[in-house]
């Protein structure tokens, strides 16, 4: 306080004025912030998790909260621009009507689409089956693409172009997700870059910033002590290992490299096996479920869920095999973890890709010229977008069931068994651990499905929001009651960046199938807002043709090569500029460091001189 008073007296009158005004502004801002903190979702829960389990696990729950908000906003976006106009016009509010433009130049066979809405007396079981597989009564609701067979909505005298709105809303939610993720990861990315630039800071970081001052629970403190000791010991061991690796002889290197190539071949073989089995199972499931004879049999539901089950099995077995194999490859422990993680991410996200690829080959693959009139297999898939939406819906439901079932039926009983029976076999299983990376991959997988599926099923984000909301409480309960945190500690800075990086990979991977569906595959002529266009993308050029010629030329020019190539060159130049700037900054940092050393030397020199002078 005294130093602050002294400072204030030294300032001139004008500066005093600036200071008081900036202080009152700060006060006002802090008041607003205080109010806003009451509105933040789950603030208290996350705070208590941070106190008990530390920063790493808390960042997982913050990530969950972020996904809940993201999905909710995507849902609001799609609902208000796509579903709401139709609902308004169905009830005739604001004098609105739906316009159905009859399709022209399309062969009659392509436009036949009769979703089997259950009529008459049906078993209750059928409703349950329909709920889980998205067929029957669910197929005709606004959940799936087929409901939106509307060409325009007239609200009083204004025409609301629904196909265009549908397409633009899709691009909007993709862009929104991208921008939001980039904003969140900007901070972590910068720190990671700085960290990468100076890899020798790791010990200082662990020792000076190692203790989490937020921990309030004595048992959590014990855990933290243990994990800190473990981490320091592992790092020291790793350093010794690295020295050993640097001293390897030529023959040893040859042996290890050939071993690594061999194991990578095994990994690729396993991955191909997984993908091939997903392909076969999806093809089998699609063929059998369209066979109406089996439509009401018990096994039909099982057949429909076969792809989801196989994918979940692959996602479960894959990581186990990878963590077993990597032991033979003799990497440093840190690199081992990164490589296993990369392989697991690849398995999870690529399996969705394989599923979609199989679906497309089914949809556009015709045995003998069945595709001629419409461009896709109209006999089996009169409304193929609804089918893809149903597959995504099934994947999401199954994922949700698995996430609920595993803690309930595996983790919790395991904990009960291990704490109450001291039989050797059971003790070998050990307590369930909260594996951070596995959990993160799980929810990124779910989010990728949501991103892909929203185009085919506009209400899917609502299901995703509810799903993540429930998952938060389930994971929190399982963390508190059943799991032990993994012994390998996770640092907060690394983890947030890792989560967002994996999420970004998921987003890019979700974009590719969407781009293919929108731009390449002909849209179904029997249902959906795009039945008057060749592909879904055509709604945009169609709209542009309504504009005056000048605007048309500008917009078409933007999409041509004459514009794209110079733009690309310009972006490259900008990128090189920033890289050069970063390098210059690094050099300045080095120079400043050297200056710091010189200052220290100057200081000791002067102190010595003073001591001599005093004598």
């Amino acid at each position: 306080r005294d130093s602050e008073q002294a400072e204030i007296e030294l300032l001139s009158g004008w500066e005093k004025q600036k200071r008081t005004s900036s202080k009152s502004l700060k006060k006002a801002l802090s008041e607003v912030k205080g109010l806003a903190s009451y509105l933040v979702l789950w603030q208290n829960d996350i705070h208590s998790i941070e106190g008990k389990f530390g920063n790493g696990i808390q960042s997982y729950f913050s990530f969950l909260r972020f996904l809940v908000l993201l999905n909710f906003i995507i849902f609001i976006l799609m609902f208000s621009f796509v579903t709401l106009p139709i609902i308004i016009s169905k009830y005739g509010i604001f004098n609105s009507t739906i316009a159905y433009i009859p399709p022209k130049n399309i062969e009659g066979n392509c436009t036949i689409y009769e979703p089997s809405d259950n009529e008459g007396l049906v078993y209750f079981y059928t409703y349950l089956k329909d709920l889980f597989s998205g067929t029957g009564f669910l197929e005709v609701t606004s959940l799936f693409y087929g409901y939106y067979t509307v060409d325009a909505v007239w609200i009083s005298i204004t025409k609301y172009n629904l196909p265009l709105a549908y397409l633009l809303a899709t691009f909007a939610y993709l862009t929104l997700s991208f921008v939001w993720i980039m904003k969140r990861s900007a901070k972590g990315f910068m720190q990671n870059l700085v960290h990468e630039a100076d890899p020798f800071q790791s010990y200082c970081n662990k020792v000076f910033a190692g203790w989490d001052f937020c921990i309030t629970d004595p048992s959590a403190a014990q855990l933290k002590h243990r994990s800190l000791r473990y981490e320091l010991q592992v790092d020291l061991e790793e350093e010794k290992l690295r020295q050993k690796i640097a001293e390897r002889t030529k023959e040893e290197k040859l042996r290890i490299y050939s071993l690594r190539i061999f194991i990578n071949i095994i990994v690729i073989a396993i991955l191909s096996g997984c993908f091939y089995s997903i392909y076969r199972v999806t093809a089998f499931s699609q063929e059998n479920s369209s066979d109406t004879e089996n439509a009401n049999s018990q096994a039909n539901l099982l057949v429909q869920y076969l792809p989801s089950m196989v994918i979940t099995l692959a996602n479960f077995i894959g990581p186990l095999i990878f963590s077993f194999l990597i032991r033979f490859e003799d990497y440093t422990p840190a690199f081992e973890i990164k490589l296993t993680l990369m392989r697991c991410v690849f398995v999870r996200l690529a399996s969705i890709g394989v599923l979609l690829f199989t679906l497309w080959s089914q949809i556009s693959g015709c045995g003998k010229d069945k595709c001629e009139p419409c461009g896709y297999n109209y006999k089996l898939y009169p409304c193929w977008e609804s089918d893809v939406g149903q597959e995504m819906y099934k994947l999401m439901i199954f994922d949700f069931l698995v996430i609920l079932a595993v803690p309930l039926f595996v983790d919790y009983p395991r904990r009960l068994l291990v704490t109450h029976y001291s039989c050797k076999l059971i003790q070998w299983f050990g307590l369930p651990e909260f594996q951070l990376s596995d959990n993160v991959l799980e929810i990124v997988y779910g989010q990728t499905i949501c991103w892909i599926g929203t185009f085919f099923s506009p209400l899917l984000p609502a299901i995703a929001t509810i799903k993540y909301f429930i998952i938060f409480y389930v994971k929190k309960a399982i963390l508190i009651h059943a799991c032990e945190p993994a012994p390998r500690p996770i640092r907060a800075s690394g983890s947030t960046f890792f989560f967002l990086a994996v999420l970004l990979i998921g987003l890019v991977l979700a974009f590719i199938p969407l781009a293919v569906s929108i731009a390449l595959i002909p849209s179904s002529k029997a249902c959906g807002p795009f039945r008057n266009f060749n592909t879904s993308w055509e709604a945009i050029p169609d709209k542009i043709r309504e504009y005056p010629t000048v605007t048309q030329q500008i917009l078409f020019g933007l999409a041509s090569e004459a514009f794209a190539v110079p733009l690309f060159v310009f972006i490259c130049i900008v990128m090189f500029y920033f890289i050069a700037l970063a390098r210059a900054h690094k050099r300045v940092i080095e120079q400043l460091r050297e200056q710091l050393v010189l200052e220290g030397q100057d200081k000791t020199f002067l102190i010595r001189k003073i001591a001599e002078a005093q004598k």
Partner: protein
């Protein structure tokens, strides 16, 4: 309720002054006042602003109870002339301000340096670093690093942070190392 009650005990001008001099917001100061007065016996609660709380009571706070640096924190922030490490309300606010979210990294690194300087000679030498690492790994014989590991670790730390190679870390070197540390801001934080 209770919040309103303690607000009437803490005069408004003092509240405003504290808001200006620390990094804490209004709610945080009021909450700190409430928690501080709970540490005092009933008779002294009226004059909480000028009372001193003995160290043993401060250490019962959950935020400090599990902290291996609890003694150092009390020592650094206490302005007691008798050296008994008791804290007044202003010391308490000082501490919370330095550990708050909005404190600058300069302030945090300055106080961190003082906390880690166990022998209070203004530099972090090998003995300080050894004590620091022992605090981190936990009390008790079996939770300490072996002397060989400790040597290797201290060697690595000094290699990374000791720029003038004099075998000790002074304040500018410490602040430089901590400014490059991505976890420091998020771990050097206490929120009531």
């Amino acid at each position: 309720g209770a919040m309103g009650g303690s607000a009437s005990l803490l005069p408004q001008d003092l509240l405003g002054e504290y808001q200006e001099l620390t990094f804490l917001s209004r709610q945080e100061i009021l909450l700190a006042y409430k928690r501080f007065s709970e540490l005092l016996p009933k008779e002294e609660r009226e004059s909480a602003c000028s009372a001193r709380v003995p160290k043993s009571h401060i250490l019962t706070l959950p935020e400090l109870r599990a902290n291996p640096f609890q003694h150092r924190i009390c020592r650094v922030f206490s302005t007691s002339e008798t050296g008994d490490d008791s804290m007044s309300f202003e010391d308490f606010l000082d501490m919370l301000s330095a550990f708050s979210d909005s404190a600058t990294s300069d302030i945090k690194s300055h106080y961190a340096f003082r906390i880690f300087d166990f022998d209070e000679d203004g530099i972090l030498d090998r003995k300080d670093l050894e004590q620091l690492v022992n605090c981190l790994t936990g009390q008790g014989e079996e939770s300490r690093l072996s002397s060989e590991e400790m040597e290797q670790l201290i060697q690595n730390i000094l290699e990374e942070s000791d720029l003038d190679k004099d075998g000790t870390i002074n304040l500018p070197e410490f602040q430089h190392v901590v400014s490059r540390s991505p976890d420091f801001a998020s771990s050097f934080k206490i929120v009531l």
